[in-house]
């Protein structure tokens, strides 16, 4: 299943299917992006990051794709499991933020995995 960031804030998939969560970022000068997972009542957990000199990066069961032309970021989760149910949000850096690693965060997409 697919979701388009803020326009479709919820995504429901069957266990075992692949999930695609999308994010549109705002600043064409941003050069560093992160995906976070946030479970209910917990803080955001770092999943994967990507720098602008790459268009794809893979982790364990996750892949992040970056399309700088259209300022779009996606997170693909392979073989989605019930434990993947959470809110996922992307973050982009402020390239003019100096040494404070300033990041801007999206509101997120809620992923629900049905058994």
């Amino acid at each position: 299943g697919e979701s388009v960031g803020l326009h479709l804030p919820t995504l429901s998939v069957q266990e075992g299917d692949n999930s695609i969560i999308n994010c549109a970022y705002s600043n064409s000068a941003s050069d560093y992006f992160i995906w976070y997972k946030q479970e209910s009542g917990k803080g955001p957990q770092f999943i994967i990051d990507i720098r602008s000199n790459m268009d794809k990066r893979q982790g364990q069961r996750v892949t992040v794709l970056l399309n700088k032309t259209v300022k779009h970021l996606s997170l693909q989760i392979a073989a989605t499991q019930p434990g993947d149910s959470a809110v996922y949000f992307c973050a982009e850096n402020n390239p003019f933020g100096g040494n404070n690693n300033d990041m801007r965060f999206g509101a997120g997409t809620r992923l629900t995995v049905k058994p």
Binding site: I34, G41, G43, D49, N93, G98, N99, N101, A107
Partner: protein
């Protein structure tokens, strides 16, 4: 490995009472430290950040203040809480310096003002 601790996990306070939330980081030196507020269904709002002891930058005008008395300790305070201060407060750290580094979050404090 680095860890970040926030406490308390939940807090219920009356309007007009003071506030002190504490955050500590272990396993790293001279981190950048951050306080965020997260409203339901909204993105994280940066409240304060610090790049060193005693150095605090405020992002938004508000009823809150922050302090960094030690390298790995970050405190969020208020002298008199307002109803609008209710929310989920998150502390985060990242490695110091230029060059992009991820921010790592604690598990937050759920603050309810009555």
């Amino acid at each position: 490995s680095q860890t970040i601790h926030q406490w308390p996990a939940t807090l219920v306070q009356p309007v007009g009472s003071p506030l002190s939330l504490e955050c500590t980081v272990e396993g790293t030196s001279n981190p950048n430290l951050y306080w965020y507020r997260q409203a339901a269904g909204r993105g994280l709002q940066l409240l304060f950040y610090s790049v060193g002891i005693g150095q605090i930058s405020s992002e938004v005008p508000q009823n809150l203040s922050a302090s960094r008395p030690q390298d790995r300790q970050f405190i969020l305070s208020s002298k008199k809480l307002l109803l609008s201060d209710s929310g989920f407060y998150l502390c985060a750290w990242s490695s110091f310096g230029t060059g992009n580094q991820p921010q790592h979050f604690g598990d937050g404090t759920r603050l309810s003002i009555l």
